[in-house]
Symmetry: C2
Subunit: 165 residues, 2 copies
DNA sequence: ATTACTGCAAAGGCTTTGCACGGGT
DNA sequence: ACCCGTGCAAAGCCTTTGCAGTAAT
């Protein structure tokens, strides 16, 4: 669907900046930060302001056209892929990779619902969402990029499924 | 164990401020923020600086005496409970509650390891940690406190296990 | 013609850091 | 006596906001 139409359908004005930002985000596989998007888009859309990138991303999120990913580090990353899927986080670099849809679905389908109910009962709470993140690194691991968004190296468990915070 | 001894064992100098901060954190069930700890501890330890709270918490984390919880919102929360356990996050208020140890363990034990292996294979990655968070609210829900650390109200799924970012 | 969006710059929240002093070892 | 930890203030990073101008509807 063309961005023009898509925006209209979501009550968003269609501006050069928004189109450029959205297209770039949509095309990206790397869950870019606002800063990264800004750097990439400012070339094809000059005079672009970082504030506009933030404002646009907020508008897109609100309209349901993208998601803000706030885990992993100080700076938020954005994702225009709306199908439910899990993320693999590289704690060293801050990178985020998608877990293929089918695997994501199977993983989520096998969360122990009965135990979640137990938690609800025991704590007197209502669980309305469960978030599951995988932390790891590509097998061919490079040293940390040491970018501002990198995190400290994790404790490195014996194998898989060490718990978390 | 006395804080004095504990600190010595971990190569930390034992100062009034550190003891006060650590004891307060240890006694707290609420996973306080640095700011909250500061407000609580400054009474019994005057002249205390917020920077010292941050520095101390970092030292404690590094020494393995507490954990920094960075999910949920802009501001970090800290936890001196080191036994593996899950957290229930209230997205409205930023509050964090512990999931009882036995339930946490059972939940984690039932994560589908075979699928995690599949992910490793398909993506060519090494998963060294999995993080699982429950998002919800106390059954007797109060309206959001609207504190700086609160987050936007979530989409509210039909029931449980809506996926996540 | 309206009014939402943009750009700029300034402010905001949380956290870290530089530096001189004081307290722990 | 050494030097790490403290306090203060300033800076840092990411993000939001105020305002006047511009462009989309």
């Amino acid at each position: 669907m063309g961005a023009r139409r898509l925006f209209a359908d979501h009550g968003l004005r269609c501006t050069r900046q928004r189109v450029a930002i959205y297209e770039r985000l949509k095309a990206s596989m790397s869950h870019p930060t606002a800063e990264e998007l800004f750097e990439q888009v400012r070339g094809e859309c000059d005079g672009l302001s970082l504030a506009t990138v933030y404002n646009t991303l907020e508008a897109l999120c609100e309209a349901g056209l993208c998601r803000k990913l706030t885990f992993n580090c100080g700076c938020a990353r954005y994702d225009a892929e709306l199908e439910p899927h899990l993320h693999l986080l590289n704690d060293d670099t801050g990178e985020i990779h998608d877990v293929p849809r089918d695997l994501s679905e199977r993983l989520l389908a096998r969360l122990p619902e009965d135990l979640l109910r137990d938690v609800e009962e025991r704590l007197g709470v209502r669980i309305d969402r469960v978030s599951l993140h995988l932390h790891g690194r590509l097998a061919a691991a490079r040293p940390p990029t040491n970018g501002r968004c990198g995190a400290a190296p994790p404790p490195l468990a014996g194998h898989a499924s060490a718990v978390e915070s």
